[in-house]
């Protein structure tokens, strides 16, 4: 059917880019070389079998049927029929073989590409995920690879097959009768230029359609999400009218494509009929001159189909190929991105001590202004330090550097006396653990989610980690206990429960240094207490750096670091800092006046 629009490429590659992409694609396909060679031969054989059909019709008519030269030969006719039949069956077998073989090559390639791309993404450092939008990153792995899936699953066979058939048909008609061949080749230019025009005009029209669809869908989505507001203000009619406009816009954009294709398809069909007319008229004239036989004329009528179908199909596939190439270029772009935080050669394990030294650290995100200037800080093994400060001051960045999510531009971060840049990743991720402010859950059971802390942990280890935090009973009481699927409907965990899972994960990892980002949003009162208690257990005997949002939390730490404008402005105990009457004292005063309600209970 005529859905050209499904695959209109948004941006097309320049010739240079395209050839680079193709060369790299071929390099990636090299391991499949043997299969590709076999598949090529199979597809060529298939094209040959297809094109041999009309040749046999020609032979059957000229040698088997009566004409001016002889009175007919039933034997010759039957022979042609039998060979034709055999070839048709051979074509069937080849066709099956080709589809399976090409699918193995293509799908195998996509599988490999998925694994490789995802593996590479996972190896990239945090800066990549913070600068690129989530949607875009996900799109590389989904819509971009899916765009190729369509090419691979259907397009690839058709593309190669049609190319062979077309080239084969051109060769065979030229060999059989170059005069008649030139006659029908007259039809090719209008078809070629018509297709080019169509592609150009319809691509634009389909991009417009895509735009209109997305506008219309977002109007629709908004009208559904905002339906309560619409009804509350009695604006149903106005909103229905608004949707009517975007809906009609979509209709008109679609009708534009219909008008284009209603012009193009008649031209293509007419070219087909005109080709037949040329073969009959010009072929007939050539026959009377004795240049070609009647059988040749009949065969040409059949070959005409083999010339037109491929042009038609190839021009349909053109878009698919283009969007696949564009998608592949984007994927290669990701594969070429290098991780900024790397494990160096000869990296070694981190020692067990939890002492943290930040020495003259300066840091900037990319080429931007530094967000930390020459920060130095010593945290003793087992000490609890709270970082406070206004938004954007750099306290979170400091915490990220201690976890080596980034490397400092200048200075160094040491844990247990060792520069983090010399440390082996696996041991770093065991010794220094970050607990994010939102408990993030992966698809899977509660047990799987805790086990993320240490993938090789046994069931007993997982339960022990929960027990230490006083959470085992709580989660065991779930309908399916620790096997409860966390993402399934009905077993939705509250924000507090997610946080508990996140803490258990950290406990299982058993780190020396714990970095906590305090939640800004409220937990349900039911779990608030459990979280507090679990945290207390978790922090016991470890070095803790907490990025504090509540001053009540900060006040409980051993020492408080106030980060202000990228510098460590103040450092000391709560009492010391209040007495000092500077930044911290000011923050504390502002906060306590807003605690308007008396502390009850």
């Amino acid at each position: 059917m005529g859905w050209w629009g499904d695959n209109v490429p948004e941006e097309t590659l320049s010739r240079d880019e395209a050839s680079r992409v193709v060369r790299r694609l071929f390099r990636m396909l090299r391991p499949q070389r043997a299969r590709i060679v076999v598949a090529t031969f199979v597809l060529m054989a298939q094209a040959a079998v297809l094109l041999a059909g009309p040749l046999l019709v020609r032979h059957g008519i000229d040698a088997g049927l009566p004409n001016a030269k002889h009175g007919g030969d039933a034997g010759a006719l039957d022979l042609a029929v039998v060979i034709y039949l055999v070839l048709a069956l051979v074509g069937l077998v080849l066709g099956r073989f080709a589809i399976i073989l090409v699918a193995r090559i293509g799908e195998g390639f996509l599988k490999e590409l998925r694994n490789r791309l995802f593996g590479h993404m996972m190896s990239l450092s945090l800066d990549y995920f913070e600068t690129e939008k989530t949607g875009k990153i996900v799109a590389r792995m989904t819509s971009d690879i899916d765009a190729m899936q369509e090419l691979v699953s259907q397009g690839l066979v058709l593309f190669v097959q049609n190319a062979f058939v077309f080239v084969g048909a051109v060769v065979i008609v030229l060999v059989i009768s170059w005069q008649l061949a030139l006659g029908i080749l007259v039809i090719v230019p209008p078809v070629y230029f018509g297709s080019r025009w169509f592609r150009r005009v319809s691509n634009k029209a389909y991009l417009e359609v895509r735009d209109r669809i997305s506008t219309n869908l977002s109007t629709l989505q908004e009208s559904l999400e905002g339906v309560r507001v619409v009804q509350a203000f009695g604006r149903e009619d106005a909103f229905t009218r608004k949707f009517n406009r975007t809906n009609e816009d979509q209709y008109h954009a679609n009708m534009h494509t219909v008008r284009i294709s209603s012009k193009y398809f008649p031209v293509i069909e007419y070219a087909g009929v005109a080709g037949t007319a040329v073969i009959i008229g010009y072929g007939g004239w050539l026959t009377t001159r004795g240049v070609v036989t009647v059988g040749t004329v009949a065969a040409f009528v059949l070959w005409l189909n083999n010339l037109f179908e491929p042009i038609n199909q190839l021009s349909q596939l053109y878009n698919t190929v283009q969007s696949s190439a564009a998608a592949l270029a984007k994927i290669f772009g990701v594969l070429d991105t290098r991780p900024t935080v790397r494990q160096r050669q000869g990296a070694f394990d981190l020692p067990k001590s939890g002492a943290v030294d930040v020495e003259h650290v300066t840091f900037a995100y990319g080429p931007n202004e530094p967000v930390l200037h020459d920060v130095s800080l010593h945290i003793g093994d087992g000490e609890r330090l709270a970082l406070v400060g206004p938004t954007g001051a750099g306290k979170s960045t400091l915490a990220k550097l201690i976890a080596r999510f980034y490397d400092p531009v200048d200075g160094s971060v040491r844990v247990g006396g060792v520069d983090l840049r010399d440390v082996e990743f696996v041991s770093l991720r065991r010794r220094v653990i970050v607990v994010p402010q939102e408990g993030f859950l992966f698809a899977g059971s509660l047990r799987d989610n805790v086990r993320v802390g240490r993938p090789e942990a046994t069931d007993a280890d997982v339960e022990e980690a929960l027990r230490v935090l006083g959470l085992l009973e709580r989660f065991a009481a779930f309908p399916e206990g620790l096997e409860t699927e966390v993402r399934e409907r009905g077993s939705r965990l509250s924000a507090g429960e997610r946080q508990l899972v996140s803490l258990a994960r950290a406990a299982l990892a058993d780190p020396s240094v714990l970095i906590l980002d305090e939640a800004t949003s409220n937990l349900d009162p039911g779990t608030e207490h459990a979280v507090e208690r679990a945290l207390e257990h978790l922090m016991h005997g470890r070095t803790v750096v907490v990025v504090a949002h509540r001053l009540s939390t900060a006040a409980r730490a051993d020492r408080i670091g106030v980060v202000f404008d990228g510098r460590l402005a103040e450092l000391g105990t709560h009492d010391e800092l209040v007495a000092r009457d500077a930044h911290y004292a000011e923050l504390y005063r502002a906060w306590s006046t807003h605690q308007a309600t008396p502390e009850v209970a």
Partner: protein
Amino acid sequence: MDDEAETKQQKTARKEAEQLEGAQTRKQGWRLMREAVGAHPHLMILGILAGLVWAIARVSVPLLAGAAIDHGIAKGRTGLTLTLTAAIVAVGAVQAIGTGLRRYAAFGLAWRVETDIRMKLVAHLQRLHFAFHDQAQTGQLMAYANTDIQQINNVVLLVPLTIASTIQMIAVAVILLLRSPGLALFALGLLPLLNFSAARFNHRMYPVGMKLQQELSDVSGVVEESVTGVRVVKGFGVERMQRARLSSEADSVYDRSMDQARLRANFMPLIDLLPTLGLVGILWYGGHQVLQHHLTVGDIVSANLFVLMLIWPLRMIGMLVGQLPRSAAAAGRINSILATDPAIDDAPNAHALPDGPGAVRFERVTFGYGRGPAVLDGLDLVIEGGEAVALVGATASGKTTVARLLPRFYDVHAGHVRIDGADVRGVRLNEVRRSVGLVFEDTFLFSDSVRNNIAFADPEAPTEAVVRAAKLAGADEFVRDLPEGYDTIIGEHGYSLSGGQRQRIAIARAVLADPRILILDDATSSVDPTKEHEIRAALAEVMQGRTTIIIAHRPATIALADRVVLIDEGKVVADGTHERLLATSPRYREVLARAAVETQAGVVDDEELLDLPGVGD
């Protein structure tokens, strides 16, 4: 044993009921499509007529070609050959015009029907009651308006195209049968199999395709969670674990894709083979008939052309057969929504809202959501016109429900909700809604300019009115600082505002509507406490001469009210001034204290160390 037998019986009964329901849905789906198509008879007629012209012209070409070979070429009559060739060229022109028109009509009809049904669906959804929207998922409704309607489009498109193809097929069969029944048999005998195979192929492909889609969405699930949870993945160094999960999903995609490839390998070469067998049959049977002088070479050539020309129409019929039940089911799903009547609508004899100061009365109101437990249980509440009342209660105590019943978002199960003495069920819905201005807890703003968002209730409102409303809501200052002031586009596709800013715009929106009764449902909860007092001052002005219901926890906000009503378990349990309740009601103290703990956060800042892009779930 008996139990088991029973469950088995029940199972069969249920299955039968489901099947019956499916059949019923499809039947209604058919009706919906028939009606939608029936609204545009001219396109359908144009499509069929153009198709008829196209079919006749197309069938003439092989006949003319055959005649030219037999009477012109074979007999060396060049003049006749050229005349017949010219005839082919002329007929081709008619065919081309026919094909253009029939495509135009078929696609035009399909898009028109799609557009009409979508409009009808969306207009209906806008009118459906809150309870419906509470249960429906936006994604599901979007799918109805998008993919399901496309399924309808597919079938509407194919109908006129297939009618023309069928006419053509019959014409070819008749012509060949008249010329030679044997030739007709060999040429066309196997072609119905092609039709059958195409239908079967479509039918078998569909579930495999769905499975593949499922696997692809599982892949994207793993990717999405790895990206949104990248800090956890990196923080614990479990990249390898995620890679293994993706790898197993990628294997499943490979397996399902290969299932698809095998199905294609089973059907496609067969579908290609059938017409070829027709050509072989023509050569053999036709050839021998020529040898016996019953048929001519021209007959063979035209029979060949007939076979080639029928390949696509037959495949298309196969596609239509495969498409029909899917489209009917999709149309049935849409119809089931259209058949849902809005539960909240004007009563047959609905009257105007009587004039008044906005006095509110709840009389022994009982209410619960859907079939759930009662949320309000015989609640009595009287609010005088112009009075400001704070509703206080623990989570799920029913205070928000009170706010929702007043503008008649839901109807009470028992009792009465009255505004200025009139039961809201008897008043014209539009007037009830306009008399109550509600600022929701979860602020929803539209992707539109700030001005249009504030002037939502009255798009014609003059700029001064918009600015005044914004000032009263404490929004004017920050709006002026936006890149384009009041013309700044906000919302999902525009400038993103903080929670507090959104709430202030929502308050301005309610203020502009100038309602008799204003309800503020936790409307300042996201506003920075340091700024809240500015809004409070402005709110005091808005509340002048207007009945106001405030749902709040912060004592400072509660202080705006003349009176506090404590709601617990769906009933009013205490009523009086803030000071009196603090002194006399332990429950009141408890509720406030808990709320204070819950809202303690967020003073210092809201910088996130480990913010999850797009929050993962």
